[in-house]
């Protein structure tokens, strides 16, 4: 756990340095003379992140105290879900552009149900049908808007 804390702290510090040295100067103009610079608050926030990142890493490396929250590593299942669930949503968005909201919505709901371990065929049919009906009612009838 100490290694996780150290790596997290150092990663934060490195992130802050990259922001301070490259990103903020490139992405935020200096502003106009006589006004406070638009960079002021972002720089203050990033400086805080740098200092705190070093504090976290330093406390884990040299201090006796480890924060009471001891983070566990990602399990294999969590890592797969971290990739699979966003990928499913992105796939549904892609299908939305190709085939419209019905296949996209059905893919999203059925895919998520399968991912969660649902194997009952009736549920696999009813879940997308019910969700799409709810979505249609909400978007097209009540809100008077569209998707896709």
């Amino acid at each position: 756990m100490r290694a996780t804390e150290t790596i997290a702290g150092l990663a934060l510090a490195a992130f802050a340095v990259v922001l301070l040295v490259w990103v903020i100067p490139a992405e935020i103009p200096r502003g106009f003379s006589g006004q406070l610079s638009p960079r002021l608050v972002p720089q203050v926030a990033v400086a805080g992140i740098l200092a705190l990142g070093l504090w976290i890493a330093g406390a884990a490396l040299f201090g006796g105290r480890i924060p009471p929250h001891r983070p566990g590593p990602f399990s294999r299942g969590e890592l797969s879900a971290l990739v699979a669930l966003p990928a499913l949503v992105l796939l549904a968005l892609w299908v939305l552009g190709l085939g419209g909201p019905l296949p996209a919505g059905a893919l999203l709901v059925t895919g998520a149900a399968l991912m969660m371990g649902e194997r009952n065929p009736i549920a696999l049919v009813l879940l997308p049908v019910g969700s799409l009906a709810l979505g249609w009612l909400l978007l097209y009838r009540i809100l008077g808007t569209t998707v896709g």
Partner: protein, 501 residues
């Protein structure tokens, strides 16, 4: 009091009461849907009131606002998906309670706190509207900046077990809030050339991603363990798990009273919004708790604190609207349109020219608070059935609703993309022990904080000694220093105890 009594007489007819009840019921149901907040609900309902007289129309719209503010707790508790960002702190303890089989208790605590907060704030509106609103005119950006700084110290307080990580999360939230066009110069910041970021990162897709989709990713990753838990969480074994016990009331009553006061204070100050109120109230409840470590694991007073403040903000934000014509929140701004549509011009003249209508509106608001209690109790039984449905069937539907919510509030595909980015970030935050809530507080407060900070520097002429002319700001700065000292001391003693064990 005569106009108010006359207003009560106007309200006490079946048709107007029906409109009040219909507004509360619709608002409660819409509020329970993730991503559809009270502002959206009221905006959608305005056209429905075209054919109505002024009083039933305004009563209907205010009923929707009140109902949806309370309804947003339902999805926060049952699904860990806040109906709107101001209910995010409710999810912190409400969802763990639901997972422990105490969904009924959490829903009741949220409803009672909502009704009490709402009613208390409505009474404050009735009694204090004119004097408080006149005083609110003397609040300058210097005072608001000091109040926000004070609220940001509660960010540190919320994470007293790991102060550094809490502050990192808050700083990241502040940084995220600076994305978009800078308000003073109009120059783009951290947009990487993408025009969709010019208005900043949309809050609702961000909150849905970090709180709801992040949780669903973790649930999908641990579904084997979840299936095993399923039977035990479906329903609590003890009848006390579904009701508020005397001990629950003892814990919740101070949190509700404090939350109501905080909500009223935040509602009166223009621009702060319900999210600041609920987060502040949650932070205050935790800071004053004898066992702060219970927070986040199912503390009933956490739910009560958050919901009382969230609901107290709605009526309080009408105080500057009614007395000065200044909207204190988005909902008040939308209501101005509805008022004008029905021939009512909010402001000081409203009291002189249409006192009976003002009395009627006050009466309708009190009636809406009572309707909220009855309708909430009726619909809660229905909503509580959700926890009995297996997680593998709830997650797909909730994910679908999350995508719809992010789509609507984030302007289409962009909103969904934002939701996904912050879902991944949320999972990383949770696994590494960084607080998602602190990040959201930093983000919510960030824009107003930066604006008032800049204005304060100009008002003070870049000379801190000029603060002496702003005693309210000085009081809040002193409170900030005290809060930092107390939270730092709290964090040290927690770490020491942890070492000893």
């Amino acid at each position: 009091m005569t106009p108010i009594l006359a207003g009560f007489a106007d309200i006490l007819n079946p048709v107007t009461l029906l409109w009040v009840a219909a507004g509360v019921a619709i608002g409660y149901l819409v509020g329970a849907l993730p991503g559809l907040g009270k502002a959206t609900a009221v905006a959608i309902a305005i056209p429905l009131t075209f054919a109505l007289p002024a009083l039933p129309a305004i009563a209907f719209l205010i009923g929707i606002a009140k109902g949806s503010a309370a309804g947003s707790a339902v999805s926060a508790i049952l699904l860990n998906v806040p109906g709107e960002p101001s209910s995010a702190p409710t999810a912190l303890d409400g969802y763990p309670l639901a997972r422990q089989g105490k969904a009924g208790k959490a829903l009741k605590a949220a409803l009672y706190a909502s009704v009490l907060g709402d009613l208390g704030s409505t009474l404050a509106l009735v009694v204090l509207a004119q004097p408080i609103a006149s005083y609110a005119l003397s609040i300058t950006p210097v005072e608001i900046c000091a109040v926000l700084l004070f609220s940001l110290t509660f960010v540190a307080g919320l994470s007293a077990q790991s102060l550094a990580k809490g502050l990192v999360a808050a700083c990241l939230g502040l940084l995220a809030a600076t994305v978009g066009l800078e308000i003073e110069s109009g120059l783009p910041r951290l947009t990487f050339g993408d025009y969709r970021l010019f208005d900043g990162i949309p809050l609702i897709p961000m909150a849905i991603g970090m709180l709801a989709v992040g949780e669903m990713i973790l649930q999908a990753g641990n579904r084997a363990a979840l299936d095993q838990q399923g039977a035990s969480i479906a329903k609590g074994a003890h009848p006390d798990d579904s009701r508020m016990t005397r001990d629950d009331w003892r814990r919740s009553a101070p949190a509700i009273a404090r939350g109501t006061a905080i909500g009223i204070g935040v509602g009166i100050l223009p621009g702060l919004g319900a999210s600041v109120g609920s987060f502040l109230s949650y932070g205050a409840a935790r800071a004053r708790a004898k066992e702060p470590e219970r927070f986040g694991t199912g503390a009933i007073e956490g739910v009560a604190a958050s919901e009382s403040a969230d609901n107290a903000v709605v009526p309080a934000s009408l105080i500057p609207l009614f007395a000065l014509g200044i909207p204190g929140s988005v909902i008040a701004a939308i209501l101005i349109g509805a008022f004008m549509l029905h021939g009512v011009a909010p402001g000081p003249l409203m009291f002189a020219q249409q006192p009976r209508l003002v009395g009627g509106i006050y009466a309708a608001m009190i009636a809406a608070s009572l309707a909220l209690l009855l309708i909430g109790m009726t619909l809660q039984g229905l909503f509580a059935q959700v926890v009995r449905v297996p997680t593998r069937r709830v997650v797909p539907v909730v994910l679908f609703l999350c995508v719809i919510g992010a789509w609507l509030e984030g302007g289409g595909v962009f909103g969904v993309q934002v939701m996904l980015v912050f879902a991944v970030l949320g999972v990383v935050f949770i696994k590494l022990g960084f607080s998602v809530v602190n990040f959201l507080i930093g983000f919510v407060v960030g824009r107003t904080f930066e604006l008032t900070f800049r204005q304060s520097i100009q008002i003070l002429g870049r000379d801190p000694w000029n603060l002496i002319h702003h005693p309210i700001a000085l009081i809040f700065l002193a409170l900030t220093a005290i809060a930092v000292w107390r939270f730092t001391r709290g964090a040290r003693s927690t770490a020491r105890k942890s070492e000893e064990t």
